[in-house]
């Protein structure tokens, strides 16, 4: 079993040096609507913490901004909803596969939840098969979930189908959760929009999309590319045509914008994860935007 969580932790600790880790913590804490009223302890303020939580008196005493921490009223559930069709087995860019990236962002979200004592569950699936894991609140469980996601994604697997997965979640998940959707969809079909609308009523929906390798880039000219959906090779001569590259980039951009607009209309915060370097900041932005969206 590859230690997915260890890798994520080590990367998060790298970020801690950049003073981001605590930042994430604050952002995560702020996504909960109903925070408890039982005071737990004080901790140093980090950006992202709600200003309302600052203990002004304590801060004045200790000459640093401290915020009150409360024991959560109840444990929240983060449900990782990962589309694990074969398109996830493709490359995100020349170096990182989408699978690794999906596992990574799921792990970051899950780890934040576990650190907060929340529960983490998993729903994953493709066009033919969807399944769910009950939420639990420990790292071992998270590690296991990440392993499941990792193993479920294979190039010879069934095609991706986010609509089916969302429908499965809508059908089976009864409790209120923070639903973290990790998918690589380029467009949202009407059916998905309907189900998402239905899900936003029940859950806090966070939407993370993972991009695709641009097969027209000369950077990958020396590699052989295979279309994971068609199973056929993407011919190498495509990587040398500027016009095609421009047209493709325009198409990708317009699809991305369309998807963003669609999700904005639904009130779902969305962030695109481009690579592992920017994944953590993407998660941060996602949480931040969600917080603002809620305050609105």
């Amino acid at each position: 079993m590859t230690a997915h969580l260890t890798r994520i932790k080590s990367r998060l600790s790298v970020h801690a040096h950049r003073k981001v880790r605590g930042l994430l913590d604050g952002e995560y804490a702020a996504i909960h609507v109903g925070r408890g009223i039982d005071f737990n302890d004080l901790r140093e303020y980090v950006r992202g913490d709600d200003v309302k939580d600052i203990d002004w008196k304590a801060s004045a005493r200790s000459r640093q901004l401290l915020i009150k921490r409360y024991v959560a009223e109840r444990k929240h559930t983060v449900l990782l909803c990962v589309s694990t069709g074969r398109s996830m087995a493709a490359m995100n860019d020349a170096a990182v596969s989408k699978r690794d990236l999906a596992v990574f962002v799921s792990g970051v979200m899950g780890y934040l939840a576990v650190q907060h004592g929340d529960l983490v569950g998993l729903a994953h699936g493709d066009a033919t098969r969807q399944s769910a894991r009950p939420p639990e609140g420990n790292e071992l469980h998270l590690e296991r979930l990440l392993g499941i996601v990792h193993d479920a994604i294979a190039p010879d697997g069934p095609p991706s189908d986010l609509t089916a997965l969302l429908r499965y979640v809508a059908r089976t998940v009864r409790r209120r959760t923070i639903l973290v959707v990790v998918s690589d969809e380029t467009t949202l079909p009407e059916a998905s929009v309907d189900i998402l609308r239905r899900l936003t009523a029940q859950h806090e929906v966070l939407f993370l999309t993972i991009g695709d390798l641009d097969p027209t880039l000369p950077a990958v000219a020396d590699r052989r590319l295979v279309d994971v959906d068609a199973g056929a090779e993407v011919p190498g001569w495509l990587r040398h045509d500027r016009e095609l590259r421009d047209q493709y980039a325009a198409l990708v951009t317009s699809q991305e914008q369309q998807l963003r607009r669609r999700l904005e209309q639904l009130g779902v915060v969305h962030e695109r994860v481009r690579d592992t370097e920017s994944a953590i900041s993407a998660v941060y932005r996602l949480l931040e935007r969600h917080r603002h969206a809620r305050r609105r």
């Binding site: 074969r86 398109s87 996830m88 087995a89 493709a90 490359m91 020349a94 596969s97 989408k98 190039p155 690589d184 380029t186 695709d212 390798l213 097969p215 027209t216 000369p218 990958v220 590699r223 052989r224 590319l225 295979v226 279309d227 994971v228 959906d229 068609a230 199973g231 056929a232 090779e233 993407v234 011919p235 001569w237 495509l238 040398h240 045509d241 500027r242 016009e243 095609l244 047209q247 493709y248 198409l251 990708v252 699809q255």
Partner: protein, 350 residues
């Protein structure tokens, strides 16, 4: 002799190469088509590539690739076809019937002054029949005191006619006292006391026949007046006996003046007929034509030789097809390279 090659039909030397190579090519194509469908090992996967296919530029590029690919395929198949034809080795089988008549005729002319006119006539007559010869070999020897081979036995008739014409001119036109005659017969008299030796001349001529191991009809046309001066090595009867031993038929042509010396004439006649040849006294029956006719009637012993067969490679067809195919391939590659280069250049200048 029929000297032309009769061209047979073209055929393949190794016909089994054709199906073998066709099967090989088809097999390779099938293998290629099979493996093409499979994703290559070590390839990177890319998702949502179907978006690419909807782009107008993609369609244009694909159309271009299809055209180039079709041309390349056609050229490659053409090259393969040409190579297969070449490997089958197209050959043409040509046969030459060797029904050459195997006669060797040695003209043996007495070059002494008294014989010049007779020689010229004999040569003239003989020249007419050379045209009708096929496969026979003709040689010319002149003698007086000693014998000189003007040309040995040969079937190069152009050369023979040329030589005969030259000899006729030397003997006929200028007469005995002309430079042409003197030059032509130079060397036939070493010792002026020994001239016009019929016996020696005949024996020399007999020795001129080669290919003794082959069964050939050998004939000598001997023109002389049998008026020897001095003493030779062979006498006429002895030389005739030598000829008979060598299986050479001697046809004698005596000069008209020989009739004045009946004993010499008789000796000549006996010697010639003794070998089975004909004897004619020139002037008696008009010309040397009768003798020449007798030679023409001489039975040529046919040698039962198998027809000559030559097998010639005919690589032209295969080479042309392969060449066209290769030319097409090179042309398409050049076109492809030019397009790629243009694309790169456009890429370099953003």
């Amino acid at each position: 002799m029929d000297l032309t090659w009769n061209g047979g039909g073209s055929e393949f030397r190794w016909p089994w190469m054709l199906p073998l190579l066709v099967v090989l090519v088809v097999g390779l194509l099938v293998w290629w088509a099979r493996t093409r469908g499979r994703p290559p090992a070590g390839a990177a996967y890319v998702a949502h590539a179907d978006r690419l296919r909807s782009l107008p530029r993609y369609q244009t590029l694909v159309r271009r690739r299809v055209i180039i690919g079709t041309c390349l395929t056609l050229a490659a198949l053409l090259t393969c076809a040409g190579a297969i034809v070449l490997s089958g080795r197209v050959q043409e089988r040509q046969t030459m019937q060797q029904d050459d008549r195997t006669r060797d005729i040695m003209l043996c002319l007495d070059a002494s002054g008294s014989m010049a006119e007779v020689d010229a006539e004999v040569l003239r007559e003989f020249r007419t029949i050379v045209d009708g010869l096929q496969g026979e070999r003709v040689g010319l020897t002149i003698f007086s005191g000693v014998a000189i081979t003007v040309f040995p036995l040969t079937d190069d008739y152009d050369f023979v006619v040329e030589q005969l014409t030259e000899a006729e001119a030397a003997f006929g036109t200028g007469g005995v006292y002309s430079d042409a005659y003197a030059l032509y017969t130079a060397g036939t008299v070493v010792d002026w006391s020994v001239q016009s030796q019929l016996g020696d001349g005949l024996a020399s001529c007999v020795q001129r026949f080669d290919r003794k191991d082959e069964e050939r009809s050998r004939a000598i046309v001997l023109a002389s007046d049998n008026e020897p001066i001095g003493e030779g090595i062979f006498d006429v009867a002895g030389a005739a006996q030598f000829a008979a031993d060598e299986d050479v038929i001697v046809h004698g042509i005596a000069a008209p003046l020989t009739a004045d010396r009946p004993s010499a004439l008789q000796l000549f006649d006996d010697a010639v007929t003794g070998t089975g040849g004909t004897f004619a006294l020139l002037g008696q029956d008009g010309s040397a034509a009768a003798v020449i006719a007798a030679i023409g009637n001489l039975e040529a012993r046919k040698i039962d030789r198998p027809p000559l067969v030559q097998v010639l490679d005919r690589p032209t067809l295969g080479t042309v097809i392969t060449g066209i195919g290769l030319g097409g391939l090179v042309a398409v590659w050049i076109a492809e390279g030019a397009i790629a280069l243009r694309g790169r250049r456009r890429e370099d200048t953003p």
